[in-house]
Structure formats: structure tokens, C-alpha cells
Amino acid sequence: MTEAATDTPLSRVLPQTDRLLEVKNLKMYFPVTEGIIFQKTVGEIKAVDDISFFMRKGETLGLVGESGCGKTTTGRCILQLTKPTSGRILFEGDDITKFSSAQLRAVRRKIQVIFQDPYSSLNPRMSIGDIIGEGPSVHKITKSKAATLDRVKELLSLAGLPTNIHTRYPHELSGGQRQRVGIARALSMNPLFIVCDEAVSALDVSIQAQIINLLEELQEKFDLSYLFIAHDLSVVRHISNRVAVMYLGHIVELSDSLKLYEAPMHPYTQALLSAVPIPDPVVEKKRKPIILKGEVPSPLNPPAGCVFHPRCPAATDLCRNEIPVYEEKRPDHWVACHHPLDG
Amino acid sequence: MLIRQLFTAVLVSLVAFGIALMPTSDANAQKRGGILTYMIPSKGAASLDGHKETSYATIHPTAPFYSLLIQVDPSKPGAKELVGDLAKSWTVSSDKKTYVFKIHKGVKFHDGSDMTSRDALASWNKIVFPPQGILSARKAMFSMVDTITTPDSHTIVFKLKFASPAFIWAMAMPFNYIYSADVLAKNMRYYETKIMGTGAFKLVEYTPKVRIRGERFDQYFKPGRPYMDGIIGIFSPKQNVYVAALESGRAYSMFRGLPPQAVKDLLKARPGEFVVQSSTWNCALNITPNSYKKPFDNVKVRRALSLALDRWGGSRYLSKRAIVKTVGGVVFPGHPLAPSRRQLQTLEGYGTNVKKNREKAMQLLKEAGVPRGFKFTLNNRTTDQPYKIVGIWAVDQWRQIGLEVKQKVLPTSKFWAALRRPKSRMTEKGAFTVSIDFNCQAVVNPTVDISKYIPSSGANYGKYDDDVLERLYNEQLREPDFDKQKALLWDFQKRLTDQAWTFSTLWWHRTIVHNRRMKGWNITPSHYLNMGLVDVWLDLDK
């Protein structure tokens, strides 16, 4: 697949600066090795297999898929926590995969992360103040201890936390509070872009709403962009401008969230949507959930052709033999399917 | 009990200074038979080849299997004259430059072959003119040898470049085994790991680091010898083990020397069981300052170090706990060429007025600008006897002239590495400041004794240069007249003392405690000597 092929008409129209982040042909293969010294690679886990998308400034992109589909790996690649096997990640027009560690350190401040598990995402040996203040003080954003403390307090109140908890330790806080600390930490570097890796999945539903509201408030205030990773379409519905659906290392569908929810084009998206409960008993009763057959295949040995074909109700020989092209079937609506649904 | 102790006390006093007086009354009553088990206080012999080795760890297990050409008289080790072993007799030309040795006829090697002058020649060539790549530890001692020839099958002739009284003594070194020419022709290194000689005993078994066993060699050339049926030498570096072996009677002797405390313990544990023989040991324990380092480059400081030692008091104190005793200079005390006690006391640092000595020492230090409380390190060897104990004594002596000395004890390898530092590196920070040093020789001969102190010697660990010493050494080496040689030796001693490049503390003292059933062995001033065990016999009925 050439670069030109992935370039979309829309992206050509939009000025480059508008694209905050652009992921091109990203691949992340994990080698499976044997042997102690002279290791030989016996296989590869294709966690992310050739995906491309872009994000506009101030936009929220939802990235949805079952666990193990590669969405977290995509997030980690963007955060440069793992080095991708190949592909380019352009942030503000620069390929950050080619950055030196010094350049990377500078760009990292602009890309932050909020994790799923509020328990393991905070260092248990550090106080809340240290967790939030470490970034600003290490990067000399705040010049003195007092300034750091002021900044910590400011961030705490931004995250909706009482300012006096900075001497506390994570284990003294509730899950929701910790997630707010995580958000405050991410904000401490004045980022442009935050990867929210299942940021609300581990929380109670009531707290989920609070956190999502907070994230939306902050987005407005600081003109943030979010890559919102989740395994559930319902969670991202409200917060996302656009939604991408991943399956087994591939993006199968990416669209405006409205269009995607209303008229999904990929059978997998449709199946996912059918599982989302709708808070209307009448509608809910009429709906027929699409039960996918079989299990998700192993990424170590993905099926030939369309990766979804073993489970697809509409699969044909074509699907079994040829990899469908990921293309813009409708304006601003990308799908990788030989037989897209017509909504 | 009391009588037994008295008996021991009398014995101890009998075998006093220098030479042992063994009761010779039962000299004719030697009994045949028995196997002698003796302890070898070593972890094992390096190699078995006496020609290249310098350690008792080689001599003690191997000497019974070999003969020498000439030897120190086993029955009178202190005698001025040497006796023959394989050599029946020898003559010296009037210019003292030609030595003709007549060899016994009918001598057999353990493999049954005849021993002739050819074998003696091959062995001596290996010692004096070793071929490329073959080590001879005593090559340097025979620098005066010009040629060795064999006019007939039982005569060997040594021609010297210049006459030297040291020659014949160097020949009597117990390491100069006579090997088989045929064996050497096949493999020059045969004797490093194997044994085949003409000695009184024939090898039965050798397990390195464990034991060596020999049986009587029936074709031994001395009639009626050896008396014993066999010998077993057991290697044991640990004092408690060999002392326990002696105590329990499972071994009859250990031929190196026991410290005073062990002697006392043994005599107390089994009164009447042991015979004690003791002698001054032909080893001097010295102290060598590094004259390349300040302030020891100043002769006054070096002299002060020597002056501070109370040698006579030290002798009284140390002889009770260490294997040292005799006050002496560079020449073996008691040797005719050694200075008299009175003469020795005129030497700086050897006088009896300790207070005066120390005052002078402090005066010298003051002149040299060395402050009170000056600190330095004494390098020592990790071996207890006698190094460490004498080192601790020396540190205390120096403390009394206001020097703060720290003793640093090094494992053998590091100790040697420190001493063997090349001259060019003596100024470095890691080089030793002051070190314990020693001079151990196999035969009692002044020329051999002082060879260590000449600057060109390989054992000059102070790396000093002194033409006077070198000249005096060479003059005495060539001096045939006894009195003149003695005078030259005294000059040598005085020069060394004046410069204090290195100075002696005390000479070692050798005490052997052996089972009373072992007879016919006499102590010698060297633990290298008298290990042939030809004349030793066992009185097992007692």
C-alpha cells in the first residue's frame, strides 16, 4: 500500500497544521523467540498491522475494539512507549518515531496519557503532590518548590480535587479521586493531546460520567485532543467526534460518530452495536442481537484475507482470499470490507 | 615424671648453640628394619627436580631417593670439612682451580643400570650449564666453573676460571642430585615429575600433596645401608596436624622446625617420648627499607631503624615464641669466618646498651628531619612463623623511638609481588616502604650467605646500588687466605651496616622434636640438609 493510497481526499483539503496527529501504516509486531543466546524468531504477534488515521486539533477520536485487538498497543506506539515495527507517527507534522531521545523528551510533554487502572497508575511510594508536581519540576516548568506546590494545587482544583490532599498517598484515595489525580498529572505538562487508555472502564458508572464530564470540560478549556480508547462503543459515543473500530490489529471502520452509530458499514461494527443496550425497552425488545460465531483468532496466526472472515456472517471466497482495502467508501467514512453494508 | 623432664632438660641444654652433640654410644647397635613415617610441613612439592627447585618441600620428599657427589657430613653437620657421597675421594690442585673427584664403583640406579662419571657429568652440566629453556636454580653459584670433564668412567674433573672457597660448598648443596644420563638424554624434564636415582630408597608411590613412599634399595652402594625397610613422607602444611601426628606416635619426625610453644606442648603431653635437637638455623630475618622513598633515602633514617632494635632483648623474648633466637650479622653465627660476639657488639645497633642506641636513633631521626610520630608501613608475609611475630616485635621497637608503624601482612603472592618490584618502579606510590626480608641458605658458607646482599644479586629487594659491597664480595670470593677473607667479610658487614640498605634482626632457630625411637639423625643448621636418611635407624623395641 503506497502512501498516496492512504491519503484521503479530505486530508488533502485540510491544511497540514490542522492535523495534530497522523498515523501512517503503523505496524507493531512482537517477535516470538526461542533460544538463550542465539535467539531465533519463530513467529510474530501482529498486534497492530498496518493502520492509518489522523486526528485534528481539538478533536476526540474514539478507538474501540475487543481486548487484544491492538488498540492499547496503538496508544502505546503514539506515546512512544513501544517502538513500532514500521510506519510513521507524525505529530504536528514531525515524525516522532525518528526523534532522538532529547527531541522525544520535548515532544512528550505535549502527549500525555491517562490509564485505565487508577490503582496501578499511581506510584504507591509517592505522595499526590509529588506525583503531580514531578513533571513540572523536572522539566523546569516551575522554578521553585513553592511554585511547584502552587501548580499542584491549581491542577488539583482543575481536576476537581481538594487542594489539601497533596500530602496524601494514593492508597488513601478512592478510585475516582485517583483517576482525577491521573488527569491532573497528565495536565501538569500542558499537553495538546491526551491518550485516554480505557480511562473510565474501571470506574463505577456514576463516577464514569463525572470523569467524562471533567474530561470534556478540560477539553474545552485547554483545547485538548483526546484519543479515547475503549472496548465498548457506548462509552465513547458521547465524547467522540469520530470513532475508529479495530479488529485483530486492523482498523475496520472509521467514521463520524453520528454516521457510525446510525449506519455502520462493517459487519463487525454492526455486531458490536447490536450488543450495546439501548435505554428504551420498546426499541430494545425489537432489536435482534447479532451473535458472532467463534473466537477471536490468535494474532500470532491471523487468518488470510479479511481477518474478520471466519466470524463474518457475510463472508465469501473473496473475503477468504483477499485482504479488503481500507478506503473511504463514503465521505469521511473509511471501511475495510469487501461487502460493506449500506446502512 | 620429674626425672623424665630433667632428662629432657639436660638433652635440650646439651644440644645448645650451633651444633648438636648426639650420644654416639649406641652407634654400633643400629638395628635393621622398620618404616619411618615423617611429616613434610608443606602443601606439596612444586616439582621434584632438585636442580631447579629451591624449597625444602622438594628436598624433604625426594632426598632419600638420590645421591650427591659430595655432601655435608650427616654425622657432623657443623664440621668444617665435607665428605663424599658418590665421590670416594677428591683432590684439589695447588692453584685451587682443578678439582678431581673419584666416584665409587658398582653404584646402581634404581632401574638397575650402572652409575658412572657419565651420569655425574650429565647432571652437573644440567646444573652448571643448563641448556636453553632448562632452569637451574644454582647456575649463578657456579660462575667460576670453566669446564667439566670425565677422563675415565669413574672420574670427574671440574676446572675453575678462578679459585674460590665457595665452590666446594656450593657443590655440596643438597639439591645437586645425580641423575641418570640416559634418562636425561631422552627427556630433560623427566625429573620434574618422576624419581629415579641411586639413593638408599626406591620409590614405591608418589601421590602429589598427599604422600611419598619408598622402600629399601637393595643394591644401594653403601654396604649395610639403609637400615630401614622403607620411608613414608606425608605432606601436611598444618601445624596442629603434624604435631598431633608426632604426639600420637604415628609419625616419628618432622624435619623443618617447630615453634617453642609446640615443643613445650609436645614434651608436656608425652614426657620421655621425644628427643629434642636444636641449632641455629641458617636463615636470617632481615628488614629492608625502600631507599627510593623519602625519608628512607636518607641513610640516617635507615640507621635509626636498625639502631632501635634491641636484638639481645629480642632474642630472649622472641625465642620463647618464635623460631628465631641468635643475634648475628650477615655471616652464619658460629661459623669460623663470622665475627665474635664481642666484635659483633661493636657494630651499630648490635650493642647491649639499648638506651644509648635508641637515643642515638632519635638523634639521627631528628637530624634527618623526621618528626616524632612519623608513620610508615611495614610489609610482611602472612606466615606466622617467624615473620609475623618478628614483625610485631619490630613495630613495637620502633614505637619506642617515636615512629608509628603499621604492619601490613600480605599473602605470599602479594608479598613477593611487592618485593620483586623492578628498580624503575620503586618510587611509585604502591611500592613498599619498609619490608621484612630474609636470607635462607642450604649450606653454611659465608660466601653463599652474603651473596644475597650484593647489589647485583637477584635477591636484592632493596634495589640499592653500592660498588663497595660489590667489590668486597668479589675480593673475598677470590681470597684464599682465611684471615684475609674474614677481614674482608667484616668490612662487608660494616659497609652494609653503615649504609643500612638492609639489616638483620635475628637468625632463625631450628628445633626438631622427634620420636626417641628414631636414631642416627643429627640436626643441621639448615632444613635442606641431612635428608638422605641413609644412616637413620629405628629402635622399635623401646
Partner: protein
């Protein structure tokens, strides 16, 4: 939305202190054997620090008239073969043992901690090489490695690198114990590194470590601030286990005459030489230092065992 926590800071500290004291009390109640070990260890440490005040005599002073003396009022444990007071040497021996024990286990375990954490953190080829090296070092008994290393370490003295007025920074005892310390420290590093790495591997996957990386912190900072503090339990366990081993090892090396050298007082040295040679006339000269070694190692071990039970029962050292 406002889940506030209102405890003033001062009270907070107080609470921490109370719990600290309480946890010690709890340790004493639940692990009497371990507590006994701790008390003995403390006694040894105090002896080591205050040896100058406790010891009746200078351990280097030679009594010219008494050697191999039996216990008496002047010399409570008698004297050795050169007339030095055995009790004083025993007390100063504690200083040597504790110095070697603490310094080598602290340095060894700490270096092992950082190597183990770094190995786990960087992963990949660095981890692979580190683990191979660790494998090599682990396939030898401690003493074999220590013996091989002790002959290599050069002697370092203050005057070799310090101007005279700074000599006090490098007490003599360092000069004589340094080769031993190094020889004991080096084999400990891989042992600790292995245990720590196992724990750190799990840590590396922790989101807070990822967060730290996303914040653009240096590797050093992430390792030292975010990973190391979280593997303290295995580290402490290894540390206490090493102390006993180090004391034992020092004694063994000294006994073999390859460790601490005379005249520095050391228990292993007291057991060799005269003590061994003359134990028929003075058995106490061998028994007392031997007991001192055994007691200290015993104390370190029981304390370490109990600490392990408290900190992490799954870890076996």
C-alpha cells in the same frame, strides 16, 4: 464530587509514627526469634561502634611476658600466641566483621538492586546480556568467587589518592578490609540482581512507569524514583540475608589467610594460627571467636527470616 480528606499534616505524621512503633511491637510479639536476632545484631553493632570504649586494652598491644596465657583478671580471655589480649581482639573483631558485613552487603545488594531494576526496565538485549552474566556468576559458590577475586584487588591506602590532611576520611581499617569487601560484594551483586529483576519485571508493566515515561523523565529518574522504591521488600530481604553470609564469608576468607590480614583483629584470623595449633592447651582461644561468628550469623539469619515472613512470605532466598 467533593470527597475531601481533612486530616492536618502534623497529625498525619504522628499517626505514621505510632504505626511505625506499633509495627515494631507487632514484630516483637509475633516473631520472638526474629526479635531476638535483631537484639543480638544491635548488640554487635554497638560493640563494633564503641569498641574503643568497651575493649579493655588495645588489640594490637603486645604483652611481652604473657603469651598463650590462660584467662586471668588482667586478660579476661587470656592472650594469644604473641601476647595480645584476646577479649580486646574479639571486641575489635566485631568491628571488622560488622564493617565488612554491612558495607559489602549494602553495596552488593544496592548495586544488585539497580542492575536488576535496570535490566528489567530496559529489557531486550541489555536484559539478555545482564542475565547471561548473572548466570555465570551464580553458577559458583560465593566463596569460590570471593577467593578468585580477593587476589586481584589491589591494596589501596589513603596516601595513594588523598592528601595528608584528608587521611582521616579513609581509616586504616578500610585499607586492610577493602580487598575482602570487594571480594564479597561482587558475588553478591548478581544474586540480588536476579531476585530484584524478577520483581521489577512486573513493575515495568505498571502504568505509573509508563506515565513516568510519557512525562519524559530520564531513565535514571524512572529507575531510581519509580521502580526502585517499589522493590524494597525483596531488596531488604536480600540485604539481611547477605549480611549473615558476608560475615561468614569474611571469617572463612580470613581463616584461609586470604581475607583480612594481621594485625587487624578479625574472628576468622583468631581461629587460624595459634588458636588451631594450641587448642589442646588453650581451647577457649578457638571456641570464643568461633562462637562470636556463629552467634552473629545466627542472629542475622533469624532476623532476616522473620523479616522475610513479614515482608514477603513467598520469597525464598
Amino acid at each position: 464530587m467533593t470527597e475531601t480528606v481533612r486530616v492536618p499534616a502534623a497529625a498525619d505524621d504522628l499517626a505514621a509514627q505510632v504505626s511505625w512503633a506499633q509495627s515494631i511491637l507487632k514484630f516483637f510479639r509475633e516473631k520472638p526469634l526474629g526479635a531476638a536476632g535483631l537484639v543480638i545484631v544491635l548488640a554487635y553493632i554497638i560493640t563494633a561502634i564503641f569498641a574503643d570504649y568497651i575493649a579493655p586494652l588495645d588489640p594490637l598491644d603486645v604483652d611481652y611476658d604473657l603469651f598463650n596465657a590462660k584467662p586471668s583478671l588482667d586478660h579476661l580471655l587470656g592472650t594469644d600466641d604473641i601476647g595480645r589480649d584476646l577479649l580486646s581482639r574479639l571486641i575489635y573483631g566485631a568491628r571488622t566483621a560488622m564493617l565488612v558485613g554491612f558495607v559489602s552487603s549494602l553495596v552488593g545488594a544496592t548495586l544488585g538492586l539497580f542492575i536488576g531494576v535496570a535490566s528489567a526496565y530496559f529489557g531486550g538485549i541489555i536484559d539478555l546480556i545482564t542475565q547471561r552474566v548473572v548466570d555465570v556468576f551464580i553458577s559458583f559458590p560465593l566463596i569460590i568467587l570471593a577467593l578468585a577475586i580477593v587476589t586481584i584487588v589491589p591494596d589501596v591506602e589513603a596516601d595513594m589518592f588523598l592528601p595528608e590532611y584528608l587521611h582521616w576520611l579513609w581509616p586504616d581499617i578500610f585499607g586492610t578490609t577493602l580487598p575482602v569487601i570487594v571480594a564479597i560484594t561482587i558475588p553478591m551483586i548478581p544474586r540480588c540482581a536476579r531476585v530484584v529483576r524478577a520483581s521489577a519485571l512486573a513493575l515495568r508493566e505498571m502504568p505509573y512507569v509508563d506515565a513516568a515515561r510519557a512525562l519524559g523523565f530520564s531513565h535514571l529518574r524512572i529507575i531510581s524514583r519509580h521502580m526502585v522504591p517499589n522493590v524494597m521488600a525483596p531488596y531488604l530481604i536480600m540485604l539481611t540475608a547477605f549480611m549473615g553470609q558476608a560475615v561468614l564469608l569474611e571469617a572463612s576468607l580470613s581463616y584461609l589467610a586470604l581475607g583480612v590480614q594481621e594485625p587487624t583483629p578479625a574472628w576468622g584470623l583468631m581461629l587460624r594460627g595459634s588458636a588451631e595449633q594450641y587448642f589442646r592447651s588453650a581451647p577457649h582461644a578457638a571456641i570464643v571467636p568461633g562462637l562470636a561468628i556463629t552467634m552473629s550469623v545466627f542472629a542475622f539469619n533469624v532476623f532476616g527470616d522473620s523479616l522475610r515472613d513479614v515482608l514477603d512470605p513467598r520469597l525464598r532466598v
